[in-house]
């Protein structure tokens, strides 16, 4: 695979100046199991294919209306052995949960059970079309309803919109339900309040829904400032968007009071459910007065992150918002039959079940949602059961507190004095020496064999480092991480200059992001053509 190719590009590995890569350079640029891999465009050919299909018959009937594609498309192919090797080699340049500890705060990188993968691939789930007659997909609709039942029971909410494609999509759905509910009562409001520690999607979502975003300050203990919030409430406030547990990894103890105050002022409470893993099976957000909350099935319910999606973000809703949820949704009627409520039944269904003329604000995606994620999430829930999910929350919180208390003596932990954290431990870069930053520490952790924690988020803590161990790590694994983290923290505090060049041992050294943005190269170009 490393034969000279038509671009003439050949990977080169050089001995680094710091002497850490001493040893002879290799002809191929590979270093034993650390293998370089060209782009498909450098190794494939237009005439090569890994799929056996009938040759094209030029005399075959043609009813394309004269729109035949005559010019080359510019694609290249590889045979199956070349394809499998190409992607296997690429995969080895990636870090994943399967390889090691992945303490990425607010992302909940827990183990992805393989039974979920097996179930999702059953032909009865994987090989059904979204528009098949409903009589042929009753099992799929049952899965959606069963998952809905679990979500509603775990959250103590009234209804759930299932079609949303990811957390931010669900968040948008929740805010649009709020907007629709307010408009239905003729109540135009303009402002959404967002705590300053919020995830970036919250203000982006509120802005999309045409709301003006105002920040609410945090207390020194890292919580929403209840008095400041109460003072700001009024007839112009549509909603408050709160993350609970919040992005500092702390439970909002005043959430019930916040909800009551917001409701008294005629507004709604949106809860970002990104951190539901800390409380699943132990606390129901519905008991805290939440009106809408998205649930990231790819966080709490273990569907794989897949290198950046696909996700799935069902939204649980209070009774006040339920009539407005987007189509389609599923519902089981008294006769036990599972219905898919699409555009045509929506009005009748709303009249019958929501007791009025109110109805859905529309549709946010084609078809019914992320079925492939529903089957995985339901499999996960059934595996854990009510008892196992409660244990998930407890172990996730226990692991995070253990990390917090094992490192607070050496690293600045801004909220450690205010009590236990939830599922993630937050540290700052205070007292780092030699101009070293959180980024340097993160890159040094890569050399130690770890995926770094979330860095520079939340924004309220300088040089933030947010560590979320999740419940699927053993104590031995966490102890080993603490040892490694402690060693890099000691080096950062001591101002170890060598950290500025870390990582040394990853497939790539630090990448030039400025160059990437200044002269964007976003697609392959044939060197002969671009020369």
């Amino acid at each position: 695979m490393n034969a000279p190719n038509k671009s003439g590009w050949k990977p080169e590995m050089q001995v680094s100046e710091d002497g850490l890569h001493n040893g002879p350079s290799t002809t191929t640029g590979n270093r034993a199991l650390m293998l370089e891999e060209p782009l498909i465009f450098e190794i494939g050919h237009a005439e090569t294919t890994g799929v056996d299909l009938p040759e094209i018959d030029p005399g075959a009937p043609n009813r394309l209306g004269g729109f035949d594609r005559m010019d080359p498309i510019g694609l290249v192919g590889l045979t199956e052995p070349e394809t499998v090797r190409h992607y296997t080699r690429l995969s080895r340049q990636n870090y994943g949960i399967d390889l090691g500890f992945f303490p990425l705060g607010s992302c909940t990188m827990k183990h992805n059970p393989r039974l979920n993968e097996k179930v999702a691939r059953l032909p009865g789930f994987a090989d059904i079309h979204p528009l098949q007659p409903v009589q042929t997909v009753q099992g799929a609709l049952e899965v959606m309803n069963e998952l809905a039942h679990w979500l509603l029971t775990l959250t103590g909410m009234h209804s759930v919109a299932m079609s949303l494609k990811a957390g931010a999509h669900g968040e948008l759905c929740g805010i649009l339900c709020i907007r629709a509910a307010l408009e239905a009562r003729g109540d135009a409001r303009e402002v959404v309040l967002v705590p300053e520690s919020a995830h970036g999607t919250n203000p982006a979502t509120a802005a999309f829904a045409n709301y003006r975003v105002e920040n609410i300050p945090a207390t020194p203990a890292g919580r929403v400032d209840l008095e400041a919030l109460k003072a700001r409430l009024g007839p112009d406030v549509a909603a408050v968007m709160i993350t609970n547990p919040n992005t500092c990894g702390l439970f909002e103890p005043d959430l019930r009071e916040i909800s009551d105050a917001v409701h008294a002022a005629g507004g709604f409470v949106y809860c970002d459910g990104a951190n539901f893993n800390a409380i699943v099976g132990r606390v129901r957000p519905g008991d805290l007065g939440v009106d809408a909350m998205h649930i990231n099935l790819h966080k709490t319910f273990s569907t794989p992150h897949g290198g950046g999606g696909p996700g799935s973000g069902p939204v649980v809703l209070s009774e006040a918002l339920a009539p407005f949820m987007p189509l389609p949704y599923t519902a089981r009627t008294a006769d036990g039959v599972v219905h898919l409520v699409e555009e045509e039944q929506a009005d009748d269904f709303a009249r019958e079940h929501f007791g009025g003329e109110l109805s859905s604000f529309g549709r946010m995606t084609a078809f019914h949602g992320q079925m492939g994620m529903f089957t995985r999430a339901l499999t996960y829930m059934l595996s854990h059961g009510a008892d196992g999910l409660k244990q998930v929350a407890e172990d996730a919180v226990l692991n995070a507190n253990y990390v917090l208390r094992s490192l607070e003596d050496i690293l600045h932990a801004p909220f450690a004095d205010s009590g236990p954290c939830m599922h993630e431990a937050l540290f700052g870069d205070k007292d780092f020496g030699g101009g070293l930053s959180t980024l340097d520490l993160a890159k040094a952790l890569i050399d130690e064999g770890y995926h770094p924690m979330t860095v520079y988020f939340p924004l309220v803590v300088h040089g933030a480092m947010l560590v979320e161990p999740t419940e699927t790590e053993s104590k031995a694994s966490i102890d080993q991480f603490i040892t490694a983290f402690r060693s890099v923290a000691e080096r950062a505090l001591a101002g170890d200059e060598s950290m500025k060049q870390a990582p040394y041992y990853a497939p790539r050294r630090r990448l030039d992001e400025t160059q990437a943005a200044r002269k964007p190269k976003l697609a392959w170009q044939d060197p002969e053509l671009s020369a």
Binding site: G139, A168, T201, A204, E344
Partner: protein
């Protein structure tokens, strides 16, 4: 519990280290009103792998899998053969269990894959730049409308009547909240796409014209005249494609003048899965529009030793940097589906994609000819790729589809399912024919349809 490594001894030791007496001490911030006294009683307790598999399999078995019946559904989701090696690759833990590549030094696998994917999509669409994927075709369609508004600073979108109705509904739903005006229409049941009607609705306030290619009825509109008409009024042409395999046979939207090309990528590498997860594709023809694109972009750069590498770039457009000023609130893309597309497209290559497209068209022609011969059935399309519209002589197509299903044939999608209750569309049936259909399947469909209609 098989997924939880801590032992009771571990838990006790860790609580001691923390200085807590019990796990409840760590939940002290939860108000009493929200504290549950034990596992939620309305839900079952944990279960073995075997028991859970049995439970899920029982539900799967209640569905009629597409592979177990002659199958002819399309309308935005298509059944194609996915080579076995695609699933092998996407199940590698290094891809499956990776996060968004924010730490590029240990995510070059995902990043290089995304760069290859972007390059494949751009070439397929006849564009210069594609992003790293969106949720699905319908949300990509809305994002294209929103982007056209940013580029033109106009707020009216004209939608073709032959745009997938779910896509139109997504656009209209979102526009309610942004204040954009959406001019949509019902599909005109006629042999040729109604380009003249669409062109007549473009005005000086129009940000974009959105047209599907091939359209919801399987017809193939001439994009060149639409691009000229849109550009003459200062509007952009947004082209939606729901069947990427078609672009192995028909001209790319980019070469016909489309400014933004979006679509559903599910056909390549991603199975039917009852509608999701799918793969939104998004590309632009003009490099100057890149900074107005939504979603993630992967770009080439070099590392500190001068070696080529890849990073997520131009993130100043995105929510985690721009917050309320972001081009979109999107955070997740459809990474693993993009990998499946990338692997399948690499297996196909130029030759394989063209052969796959030719085989789809060959079988669709056979099916159209056969079905048209059934008394009371007429073929609407003059041109089509692998999907066409039949009119059933006034018989409600929704009932026909159900009757066919009772006879073990998944015979197509009735327009009434997509446009419930719209007069004039009730007897129209969309039939899609891919390489997964055999000539025997086509004959079965024909004879059962004859039986249902007689």
């Amino acid at each position: 519990m098989r997924y939880l490594p801590l032992t009771d001894t571990d838990r006790a030791d860790m609580l001691a280290k923390i200085g807590a007496n019990s796990i409840d001490d760590l939940f002290v911030d939860v108000p009493a009103v929200a504290q549950l006294d034990g596992p939620i009683r309305e839900l079952p307790m944990h279960a073995s792998e075997m028991a859970v598999e049995r439970h899920m399999k029982a539900r799967a078995n209640k569905n009629l899998a597409a592979g177990d019946a002659p199958f002819f559904l399309g309308a935005g989701a298509y059944r194609h053969h996915v080579p076995a090696s695609v699933d092998t690759v996407i199940q590698r833990g290094e891809f499956l269990t990776a996060y968004t590549p924010y730490q590029p030094e240990i995510a070059q696998g995902t990043l290089q894959m995304l760069f290859e994917f972007q390059s494949q999509v751009a070439r397929l669409y006849g564009c210069v730049v594609a992003n790293a994927s969106m949720y699905d075709g319908s949300t990509a369609c809305w994002e294209a409308v929103a982007m056209a508004g940013r580029v033109t600073r106009r707020h009216r979108a004209v939608l073709s009547g032959a745009l997938h109705p779910h896509y139109s509904q997504v656009v209209k739903t979102m526009a309610q909240f942004t204040g954009d005006t959406i001019a949509d229409a019902m599909p005109a049941i006629q042999t040729e796409p109604d380009n003249a009607g669409l062109i007549s609705r473009i005005d000086e306030d129009t940000a974009c014209v959105v047209v599907q290619y091939p359209d919801i009825l399987g017809r193939i509109p001439d994009l060149t005249e639409l691009a000229d008409a849109a550009h003459a009024k200062g509007a952009l042409l947004v082209v939606v494609n729901t069947e990427p395999v078609a672009l192995g046979a028909i001209k790319s939207p980019g070469e016909m003048g489309a400014d933004i090309v979006v679509g559903e990528g599910q056909s390549i590498g991603v199975g039917l899965q009852f509608g999701g997860p799918y793969l939104g594709l998004f590309a632009v023809r003009d490099p100057k529009h890149v900074r107005q694109m939504p979603g993630r972009l992967c770009g080439e750069t070099t590392d500190a030793e001068g070696k080529r590498g890849f990073v997520l770039t131009l993130s100043a457009r995105e929510q985690h940097i721009r917050r309320e000023k972001a081009t979109s609130n999107i955070c997740t893309n459809s990474g693993l589906c993009a990998l499946a597309f990338n692997v399948h497209m690499t297996l196909l290559g130029e030759k394989g994609l063209r052969e796959l497209a030719a085989e789809n068209h060959r079988l669709a022609c056979i099916a159209a000819d056969r079905l048209e011969k059934i008394p009371g059935v007429s073929l609407l399309n003059s041109a089509f790729f692998n999907e066409f519209t039949l009119q059933l002589g006034g018989k409600p197509a929704r009932d026909v589809v159900r009757s066919l299903a009772d006879r073990g044939v998944l015979g197509g999608v009735s327009l009434d399912r997509l446009y419930p209750g719209v007069a004039g569309l009730e007897d129209a049936l969309l039939v899609a024919v891919t390489e997964t259909a055999t000539e025997e399947d086509i004959e079965t469909l024909a004879s059962e349809l004859e039986g249902v209609l007689s």
